[in-house]
Symmetry: C2
Subunit: 459 residues, 2 copies
């Protein structure tokens, strides 16, 4: 280990290679609830793409595992380092290189955070619309997990927004993919292949992302329903209406009580409504025109009332923002409430009622509690799992994932597989698909240095 | 060759393996202007995914080249077969398996045509929005080239719409990727990797595609401008306006004269306006509400007039449809006019004025004519190249592609590289990228049977 470390120090400067006690605790973990923290052999903080490529070349030569880290806000353990490996932290590569108002794109380094980008784009009346809850998250991390969030129902996920990448390969080259281009038919789409690959194929050193006009008028509607089933049945109707909501979330009554309590949020919902509501639908509409927004809000209200909403609340700006924020913080609420794990399966959106019925049965059978909320418009169901026994919890999770796949779904909509769910992914995915993914991994990473315990658990 | 052909006949039925004179001429070509027609050794017409997989397994075993064919409407020669190889024609796999109105998706076999799907979705008030001009094109072919078309500026390209695939691998397995899911973070996105791979990685046997509500109100505005430069400068402003046009095309005066003449289209533009206009902007807006559409059309008109439009024509329904159709047929107009080649580079949309200036210089230097139109909102510039001398034309094309790449663009926005442009692609693309793509190709297709002369020209 000493020889490569000396070479690394020469490459990036000794002050940017941390070992032993100089490794701060946060480098040992991300926010996954079930992946134990452990420090890497060394933390490396490169300054540019050429340094990243050299680090990877060196790691390939010495067969040292490499894990990339943005802000460490991931929920699946893909940023938890290997104890014998390097953690490449992108904290120094944190510049917004360009806001291009003509082509409506931003060019960013991987360490740029969502809040940093939001501030910079707001100054131009533009917005980067991916909002996965944690605004301290880095763009590099968002690319690695294909982050989603509440606004995906309107704007799509990270995959939809990233038009081009610069990336360092384990073989030591730096490549460029795509560009300020919304379309291309010029060879394999390496941009899309790298997005969502959880640091197992290449390290992203720059991303070109789409920006959109920031619509000035917004309205937020909260509608309680008697059952989760009812609220889930409403979702396809809202999508079909053409109202094009920015946010379309369902929140079960427990989760609503927990997030409003934690965030000390008073929404003015009478006790009798609260008592009769098992679930809520949260809808955000926006428009360039105030009058169109009023008209759309009214149409939405009529639609929801006709479909069984117990009541309707058009929330004032401050309360709306607080509720959206509280919903974004649902992970922290679940964690504080003692959830043992959280998952985010994705299923065809029309199957949400069925899936929620099935999860209740599975939870009951295992003597566990499973509560949740979800990006209903995307079929992305977020569940907090309460079951302290690791073995029972594993059996429960496996059944929850299996049930999702039987409905045509997949294990994760936006959190990724990481370390936390690699075992289930490998057990439940068709072996031909896993074998193909492993061959693709080898095409990028012949020595298997990049995040070897993540996703495919390369041998 | 006889042994594998006998095995094929046993597999799909002797009547579905065509050789010699039973091979109709159309199996020997697509619509590429510069790729010579040549019949394959045999045409095979499988009935289902299992048969396709068996065909590929057999071809891998015997190292026989395999080319897939949908409708043969491609423009880059990716469906032109190898003379010693098999042409897998998807004409029997032409069923729409499902229109799912709850999840807003269609599940189709690869031989389904765009017009077939349009008819089926219209019955439900839905639309599949990819419209690459040739409605006889197959969905399988659209997936292979990542087809775009005029509506991409609003809805995105094929890549945006395809949520899941079933595909047969050269190694003989059938895999499923994605599903009725608008997001996923569960392993490498094989759906996106296969889209646009021009039949070189896997053969698609089923696709799940997004559908959208079909907006009832449309308006079409045609605006002549004094220069191509002026019209191109307007484009980012229209995108930034938030009007979200469905179509945003520029058409140069020559192309406009040609398409209106060929289609016998009378738009009522006075001769003095025609004489002063070097280029036109064509904009289609739509809305759920007639009054909003009127308001948006007025706003667009003011914007265009303020930016130098010589005049404004809000076209009545029939004329609008005819003009859009004529624009879609621009390829045929160019072909009829004797164009020697057509290309479709993609560049950052704000660089269109610069690129058009550069193309004029390059054309002049080579004593050639280059005329065009383009999906201006996407930076996708379609050029008809008039130069009969093959060698001069090659030098000219190389410079046109190089110029696009210098502006941050790529060789093709939607037609693909195919056989026609493989040489330029390999010459102009970074060798590390080409090498990586070849390793990915080998991960799918270890014996290199799938379209070996296309895109990467595998050894």
């Amino acid at each position: 280990m000493n020889r490569p470390l000396a070479a690394l120090a020469e490459l990036v400067g000794a002050e940017h290679v941390l070992t032993g006690e100089r490794i701060a605790p946060e480098y040992g973990h991300d926010e996954a609830l079930t992946v134990a923290a452990r420090p890497p052999a060394a933390v490396v903080r490169p300054a540019d793409a050429a340094e990243v490529a050299q680090i990877l070349r060196l790691a390939t030569e010495h067969r040292m595992p490499v894990t990339a880290r943005g802000s460490g806000s991931g929920l699946s353990g893909a940023a938890v380092p290997h104890p014998d490996g390097l953690l490449v932290s992108f904290e120094r590569m944190n510049r917004i290189l360009e806001i291009d108002t003509e082509n409506h794109v931003a060019v960013v380094q991987p360490g740029v955070t969502l809040s940093q980008l939001d501030e910079a784009t707001a100054a131009h009346g533009l917005v980067y619309p991916v909002s996965p809850g944690e605004l301290s998250a880095s763009l590099g991390g968002n690319v690695a997990t294909n982050a989603g969030g509440m606004r995906a129902v309107r704007y799509g996920v990270t995959r939809t927004q990233v038009l081009g990448l610069e990336a360092a390969l384990p073989t030591g080259e730096v490549i460029r993919t795509g560009g300020k281009l919304t379309k291309s038919s010029s060879g394999y789409d390496l941009t899309q292949l790298i997005i969502g690959s959880e640091g197992t194929l290449a390290l992203v050193t720059e991303a070109t992302v789409r920006l959109y006009p920031r619509p000035p008028h917004q309205s937020t509607v909260l509608a309680p329903f008697r059952t989760v089933d009812e609220v889930a049945r409403v979702v396809p109707k809202v999508v079909a209406s053409g109202l094009a909501p920015v946010i379309l979330e369902y929140i079960d009554a427990f989760t609503m009580a927990a997030i409003t309590h934690t965030q000390q949020l008073e929404l003015g919902i009478p006790a009798e409504v609260r008592d009769s509501a098992q679930a809520y639908l949260l809808v955000l509409l926006d428009s360039r025109h105030a009058d169109r927004l009023d008209e759309d809000t009214e149409q939405l209200g009529e639609l929801l009332t006709g479909l069984g909403a117990v009541d309707l609340y058009v929330l004032p700006g401050a309360a709306a923002r607080k509720l959206v924020e509280a919903r974004e913080k649902a992970f922290w609420t679940a964690k504080a409430a003692g959830a043992n794990d959280i998952i985010d399966v994705v299923i065809p959106r029309a199957t949400i009622p069925e899936y929620i019925r099935i999860t209740a049965e599975i939870a009951k059978r295992h003597g566990s509690h499973v509560l949740g909320c979800g990006h209903a418009g995307d079929g992305n169901v977020h569940l907090a799992v309460f079951q302290a026994d690791g073995e029972v919890r594993s059996a429960l999770l496996r059944e929850l994932f299996e049930a999702s796949m039987k409905l045509g779904g997949l294990i994760s909509g936006e959190h990724g597989i990481g370390r936390a769910k690699a075992r289930y992914f490998l057990e439940l995915t068709d072996p031909a698909t896993v074998a193909l993914m492993r061959r693709i991994k080898a095409a990028f990473d012949p020595e298997g240095i990049l995040n070897p315990d993540v996703l495919l658990r390369s041998p």
